[in-house]
């Protein structure tokens, strides 16, 4: 197969241009999907027969929880690419993921706790799913801590890449914890591959929110990644063009 696209993607100037162009698309998609999803979720979807209106939390909980894991996978895989092919761009992408992922993990935890109070009668329970999500948060924090502890960007990239790759093992554990242990937490009903078992009027908004959050993540990622790419740039010429500053003319 030909690797041209790969190398083009790997070249900072090209990536910077690409990212600049793609950001608005993702941003708009995110905005529309999320608004529609919220309207559908809070307004149109009928109350759940067991949980009443409490279930509506799912429309922020599930998407953020889903992001919490997807972001880590994205981070780990781009870190791996960066480590193997010494691509500064993918290092930049990995570095951009951490804070986003951490914050959405926090949201998943928070909304989950808020949901747990009415459903399980307690905010917190040392339940595998809950605990493993908490650990995911710690993984993100460790990643951030390691990065901030190393001054030199290049070293920080490589070191944190190793950590991210090693840590990815925990993601499946989070995802399957509900199945492996008899958990309070309910098993995947949407993320299941056979046909989901929720009425469409509830399901459609959820899917919209999932898609919307994902789009939002990519929009944020592209913005951050552009900055990170610039930070890693030693040859000023294209950066000058990108920032339309004439190098030397100062």
């Amino acid at each position: 197969m030909n690797w041209v696209w790969f190398h083009r993607f790997g070249s900072p100037p090209h990536f910077y241009r690409l990212a600049t162009g793609m950001t608005p698309w993702f941003a708009w998609a995110a905005a529309l999907l999320c608004i529609a999803g919220v309207i559908g979720g809070l307004g149109l979807a009928p109350a759940d027969y067991r949980q009443g209106d409490g279930f509506r939390i799912i429309y922020v909980h599930a998407p953020s929880a889903w992001l919490s894991m997807m972001v880590y996978v994205v981070m780990a895989s781009s870190a791996a690419v960066g480590l193997i092919w010494r691509m500064s761009v993918s290092h930049a992408i990995a570095a951009s993921c951490a804070i986003i992922g951490a914050s959405f993990t926090a949201v998943a935890l928070g909304t989950g706790m808020l949901w747990g109070r009415p459903m399980w009668g307690t905010y917190w329970e040392w339940d595998p799913r809950l605990t493993s999500e908490l650990l995911l948060l710690f993984l993100y924090l460790g990643y951030l801590g390691l990065r901030s502890a190393i001054d030199d960007t290049g070293r920080a990239d490589r070191a944190s890449a190793v950590l991210a790759i090693v840590g990815v093992v925990n993601v499946p554990i989070i995802h399957y914890s509900v199945i492996w242990w008899n958990s309070l937490h309910q098993a995947p009903s949407v993320m299941k591959f056979d046909k989901p078992d929720i009425p469409a009027s509830m399901l459609v908004p959820l899917l919209m929110m999932l898609a919307g959050f994902t789009a939002l993540f990519f929009a944020l990622l592209l913005i951050r990644a552009r900055g990170e790419v610039l930070r890693r740039e030693r040859n000023a010429r294209w950066a000058a063009d990108a920032l339309n500053v004439a190098a030397g003319k100062v």
Binding site: D151, D152, G154, R234
Partner: protein
Amino acid sequence: MNELTADNLHLWRGEQHVLQGVEFSVRPGQCLQVMGANGAGKTTLLRALCGLAPLEEGRVSWCGRDISVDPESYHLQLSWLGHDHGLKGDLTAAENLRYAVSVRRRVRPDEIAAALVTVGVPDLAGQRVRQMSAGQRRRVALARMTLMGGALWIMDEPGSNLDLLGQELVSALLRTFLDRGGIAVVATHQALDLPSAQLRPLTLQ
């Protein structure tokens, strides 16, 4: 034939462009003497030559092959002495040498004893390195260089903490090594007592 070549080495430390297109090539029997003021980049260059510090640009090649292709076989040819001597304070000189060298090759006790004699600390074989003086430690580290073998010596200020006899010792060790067809890269502030035919100066700023 053995040869160490560097073309167009570039390396940044933080915001600082330390190595700006360094170029040279050294052949057997020659010693590249790296000179320069404090902070000129000698240590950085030497570490880059060892493959310890990654280059932003340029390549170091041994016998014409880039050292990053097959580092292990290159390192088998290399003996390194840095600013810090790499000895364990809680082990005796003899133990230090035995373990360090055994990682690369089989070594006999009498070789170790002989090496300690050449560097002028014959009676310290059984003494803990922690209990040695600065210069004595440096000498033990030099003994390790002589034992490690290999066709390429890279030394960073081998003479630091050494007395005048010690300085001559360094030159003597280098001379015998070069005469046996070795290649040496030495960063130093003092002059080396070598025949000018063998000496290739390189000054960084």
